[in-house]
């Protein structure tokens, strides 16, 4: 039982990090139909930004985190405006190709600045053991779940209730009609990239606290694909629940069946789910009135 609890906490904390990265992916896909292959690299980039601010410049972690988020938003907006905006109106496939290129560029930048060697991160999330009944879990894992959930809730509320959130969903429904409301497509796309980069950066910071920084963590970012395909490419709740499911599946298969298999089982489940629900668990329903 204690093992189960441990695996659950580990799985959920990873899952919530996936969910943050997936959320960014979903926002971009929802508003502009672009499949962002660089989403995992935004997580990597965010983690290294935090590393730079906290470890290299020696700033207090609160300031470091704030600066990382600000820098991530700025980077997202810049990427949108110089890399993607010129392609608005071109076939979506060109934009998708560009994000593949962007992925390599981001990785190269990180490599050039910080080098390929893994580095330890001055973790500011407490790591001591916490006892839940008979089980021992790391406090960092619990806190990671808490932080990620808080951000996910904040983003969800943003979409539900704010003017820009409603504009984003309106664009997702009907771009030309949104334009006729005076909604600026450029502004909303830039915002989508800013939010996507910020969400990925939060995931990157949490992950860096747990495992340090290295080029390998962008591999975790790649987990975004099974997550969003499972949850539905355009569903925010889907990103959160898909993240949790993939995280838990990995932890349970790794813990009960064997390391190595944990990388495969989520994909097997993914295929099974898609056979039943091709748009993912929460994919957008096509409204048909009869």
């Amino acid at each position: 039982m204690d093992r189960f609890l441990q695996l659950t906490i580990t799985g959920l904390s990873n899952g919530m990090i996936y969910a943050l990265v997936a959320l960014g992916f979903v926002i971009i896909y929802k508003s502009s139909d672009v499949i962002n292959f660089a989403q995992g690299d935004l997580l990597l980039f965010g983690a290294y930004l935090a590393f730079a601010f906290v470890a290299q410049f020696g700033l207090h972690w609160t300031l470091g985190v704030v600066l990382t988020l600000v820098a991530a938003v700025v980077a997202g907006v810049i990427i949108e405006s110089i890399v993607l905006r010129p392609l608005i109106g071109e076939p979506v496939i060109s934009m998708i190709m560009v994000t593949i290129g962007l992925s390599s560029v981001l990785r190269a930048i990180v490599n050039a600045i910080w080098g390929p060697r893994p580095q330890s991160f001055p973790a500011f999330i407490p790591t001591q053991d916490v006892y839940i009944g008979p089980a021992v879990v790391g406090a960092d894992r619990l806190i990671a779940i808490g932080i990620a959930l808080a951000f996910l809730v904040a983003f969800t509320l943003f979409f539900r209730f704010t003017r820009e959130g409603i504009a984003m969903r309106a664009i997702a429904d009907d771009q030309q009609a949104a334009l006729s409301m005076g909604i600026s497509i450029k502004r909303i796309f830039a915002l989508a990239w800013g939010i996507a980069a910020a969400a990925a950066a939060v995931g990157g910071i949490i992950l860096a606290n747990i495992v340090g920084v290295s080029g390998d963590i962008s591999v975790l970012g790649l987990r975004v694909f099974p997550v969003v395909i499972l949850g539905g490419l355009d569903s925010i709740p889907g990103a959160i629940i898909g993240g949790a499911i993939i995280g838990l599946l990995e932890a349970y298969t790794g813990g009960y069946i064997g390391q190595g298999l944990n990388l495969i089982v989520p994909f097997v489940v993914l295929v099974l789910v898609l056979m039943v629900r091709p748009y993912g668990l929460f994919g957008k329903e096509i409204i048909e009135r009869v």
């Binding site: 003017r163 309106a170 334009l179 409301m181 409204i287």
Partner: protein, 270 residues
């Protein structure tokens, strides 16, 4: 009658799609403040294109105003982005309603208020929309995609009201609606015009209905205005009677597609 400057003046515009398809060929029209002006014409005449040229919505369709000018409140607007045109007070209700299907009724209304600066006044404006369309109040939490066609048209007009436009461009609000509902929608358009002081440029296939509410009308064919006048004048015109109101001299209904149609049309254009 044109003593004061018009609210909207379209001067001799030419619109080209995809750099080659010439759709508007020197179209001019004026809309006086406070009026309801009808723009009538057969399928493909270029009515929707005219509205999109005014509201700046041609760009995403690769259309361009290549000649002439459009002035709103004395200022040229034909080079502005759609967002800026909405901010200046022109709001287009697009053909086919185009509600945001996955948003609730109330969220659709909020989307209409996107450019509003006086955010605090928005809740009371939502209530105001509900006084015109009480049905929408009952449906406020419903997803717009599940509304009936008539309810969606009401929502599309209500959403436009939320922007508090000076000029509302309505593209075929009667499309696909039952006659009773069409009458209701047109009554409300008239009320909005009277109570809010909103000027309306109304595109319609249903000429009879449009001329009933309009103060002035234009008839277009093939990318140009071929006839204009007050509803009384237009209704008395034998060509209009025949082709748009479907009446012959003796008052019988006549098929829209008769051969003569094309002969007469030529006469207008020469």
């Amino acid at each position: 009658m044109n003593a004061q400057a018009p609210l909207l003046a379209v001067n001799n515009i030419e619109v080209i799609y995809n750099e080659v398809i010439l759709v508007l060929k020197g179209l001019s029209l004026e809309v006086q403040a406070g009026q309801i002006v009808a723009l009538l014409g057969a399928n493909g005449a270029g009515k929707t294109t005219t509205l999109k040229a005014i509201s700046g919505l041609l760009k995403p369709e690769d259309g361009k105003v290549t000649d002439g000018s459009i002035e709103f409140m004395g200022e040229p607007i034909h080079r502005l982005d759609a967002e800026e045109i909405v901010r200046r007070g022109i709001f287009q209700v697009m053909e086919g309603r185009r509600v945001f299907e996955h948003l609730s009724v109330e969220e659709n209304l909020l989307a209409g208020a996107y450019t509003r600066r006086d955010r605090h006044a928005i809740p009371q404006d939502i209530e105001r929309v509900y006084t015109y369309f009480p049905r929408l109040k009952e449906l406020r939490r419903r997803r717009a995609g599940y509304l009936s066609g008539g309810e969606q048209q009401m929502l599309a007009i209500g959403r436009a009201l939320m922007a508090r436009p000076r000029l509302m461009l309505l593209d075929e609000p009667s499309l696909g609606l039952a006659p009773l509902l069409v009458k209701e929608i047109f009554d409300i358009i008239r009320r909005i015009n009277a109570q809010e002081g909103t000027t309306v440029l109304l595109v319609e296939q249903n000429a009879r209905l449009a001329l009933r509410v309009a103060d002035y009308g234009y008839i277009m064919e093939n990318g140009r205005i071929v006839l204009e006048g007050t509803p009384e004048v237009l209704q008395d015109n034998p060509d209009v009677k025949e082709f748009y109101l479907g009446l012959t001299e003796v008052g019988k209904r006549k098929s829209y597609r008769e051969v003569k149609h094309y002969k007469r049309r030529k006469r207008w254009l020469s």
